[in-house]
Assembly symmetry: C2
Homo-oligomer: 386 residues x 2
């Protein structure tokens, strides 16, 4: 396996983008990434598209050749990858695999989701398709309910509090306010977070990520070719995709995600580093409790300590390990299929020193964790300034 | 790239399987394939699932880890691939790539679709998601209409007749009558085919494939390990995945599918053989005209000659190149996401000499062509008795 680098990155702003459809969003992100790498579409050898539920949200399926042909790259293998909220993380994992193995020398990975549409009233139902419909979902548990159970259990076992979770929301909103492309650029106070409208106790509206439109894309090449495309390539130091049961009822302990812990172990081992070496991270905060648990599962803090660690300021800009400098899914937005690649775009921004007001000083090693469902898929990626 | 072999194959019967859901179908096929290869689930290193529209048909998304965890293989990378009717062909292509490149030594590929359900009345609408919703589909063209246009143009340019198409239907029904696992085991006469209820002129009900439930699975390993798993492994001699525009309006000539011709060229080149060396083929007869065009695009007959070639009996059992000995999508059935891997299962049956009444004598080299949409994705695979 040879070293691989991201040599171009691009994304759309995230938000309610009424004048954009799933194709135009994808094309915008892809063209930006290609321009960033000075690559023309006919030079691409394969196309990897991460998308969770375009057929449900927009009716449009078979999206990969639709995008790549419209982009000007007909002919190449063009495939859609679906792994719930980790769809584009998984697309990236497979693209990395193919380039690392020497199958291709130049590929494009895109993630996209158009969630605000005539189907928006069905969003909770469509998202619930990432859970076990024959079990937990049939019993009425949608994702806010599943993560509320996880949060309640974490509180019971470890003493995590509503205030701990609120600190995650306040921090991610503060970061997102510094990101011109975030969906909801709005600082909130701890009091506001605690007084948020209840969604599913103990989670309020401020514990939940957003329903957004958006797309993100990256170009991958072998590291040895990277200088042809970019003065600031980003080396993939470690990466892993893992899986687990869909239903929470199949898990022994719902205060931890074994798929996250395993993906982290594998990615760290491949990179030859530990959590202490990471300068910043994008963690999958679909709900505030998911960021708390990811901090623990990846070893940024001890088991059960994610709440106090978050409240300490360690994960804020200027802290020991800034997390979700983009604003995260909470403030930047969460167009499901775009999220995995969008996390990598934020890592690229930081590692290239282009973070402006939200820049992490001297960031050279960064990690992204992309979660599917309530822990049934996880992709962890570690990038380094090459 | 090292040689790769199919070392196990399994599938469910195809049909209206009222007591099976998308999970149980997948598990049945996967367990058969694993048993055929004497492999236990924990030995698997990755799982590749082809599925077109489970979220639309059944509500269940995020299907790959659902299946692999339930099978007893939690933890491994488990990913769903979607490429319309070529979804499991594409999953197989990516699995082959990963084993050929040395990333994994043992992987499982499954294709599944549960089409008969409470969503069956929406089947034409769900399938139309594989076309361009912003163009042809918005104008009212569903897939029977698109292939009717293709057939009409082929008739106009090449003199193809209704009788030519009817011969394809009669032949595939005759083959399917010999396949105990086919959905519609019913011989028809040329007169019956010609008198079929119109669907979209010039296509009748006998020109159209079936709406079926089913799943199919294969186990892949490097050829050098194949003897550990199977006394009759099947070597992947050639394979390619290609793409093209979704909309027919973007194509210069709708009597040919450039993605099919290109996938054929690449697969033949990799295999170092030509169409004349192939002993039998499974071609994607979503509509009879699609089999006619595939015969031409792959070089089994000359351009425009697919109709007379079919009427000559050359593609029937006992003919020069038996096509769709399984009964094809027309008679065996077409559970969309299962079709690509199910074609490979028929190749395995024939190459292992297990075809019983439908056996092609001395078959040693066989080809499968799996089409997505009206030619926007194609996967061609050439297998050989190892």
């Amino acid at each position: 396996m040879r070293p691989v680098a991201i040599v171009g990155a691009g994304k759309t702003p995230f938000g309610v983008l009424a004048d954009q459809d799933v194709l135009s969003l994808s094309l915008t992100a892809c063209r930006q990434a290609l321009a960033d790498a000075s690559v023309n579409p006919p030079d691409l050898e394969a196309f990897y598209l991460g998308n969770f539920a375009s057929p449900g949200f927009t009716g449009q399926n078979h999206l990969a050749p639709f995008v790549s042909s419209s982009l000007g790259a007909p002919g190449i293998p063009a495939t859609r990858f679906e792994a719930a909220c980790a769809s584009s993380g998984s697309a990236f994992f497979h693209a990395w695999s193919a380039v690392a193995a020497g199958i291709y020398d130049l590929v494009l990975v895109c993630g996209v989701e158009k969630m605000t549409s005539q189907s928006t009233p069905r969003v909770t139902e469509i998202l619930a398709g990432a859970g076990d419909l024959t079990g937990e979902v049939r019993a009425g548990a949608t994702f806010p309910a599943l993560f509320a159970m996880i949060a309640r259990r974490h509180m019971h076992v470890y003493g995590t509090t509503r205030e701990h979770l609120a600190h995650v929301a306040v921090k991610n909103h503060a970061h997102g306010a510094l990101n011109p492309e975030a969906h909801l650029r709005k600082r909130i106070t701890l009091e506001q977070a605690l007084a948020g409208r209840p969604v599913c106790d103990p989670l309020t509206i401020y514990d939940c990520s957003l329903v957004s439109d958006g797309a993100a894309a990256v170009v991958l090449a072998p590291l040895e070719h990277a200088a042809r495309y970019s003065p600031r390539p980003l080396r993939v130091r470690g990466i892993a995709q893992t899986s687990d049961y869909l239903g929470l009822d199949r898990k022994e302990d719902i205060t931890t995600f074994p798929a996250v812990a395993a993906a982290g172990r594998k990615a760290f081992e491949m990179a030859g580093v530990t959590a202490h070496d990471i300068d910043m991270a994008e963690l999958h905060d679909c709900f505030t409790i998911a960021e708390v648990i990811a901090l623990e599962d990846l070893g940024f803090c001890e088991r059960g300590g994610g709440g106090p660690f978050s409240a300490s300021g360690a994960t804020a800009l200027g802290g020991a390990i800034p997390v979700n400098t983009s604003g995260g899914l909470k403030s930047k937005g969460h167009p499901v299929g775009a999220t995995g690649v969008a996390q990598l775009c934020e890592l690229a921004t930081q590692l290239r020193g282009q973070g402006a007001e939200r820049q992490v000083m001297n960031a050279s090693l960064a990690l992204a964790e992309n979660l599917g469902g309530s822990g049934a898929t996880c992709v962890v990626t570690i990038l380094e300034s090459a």
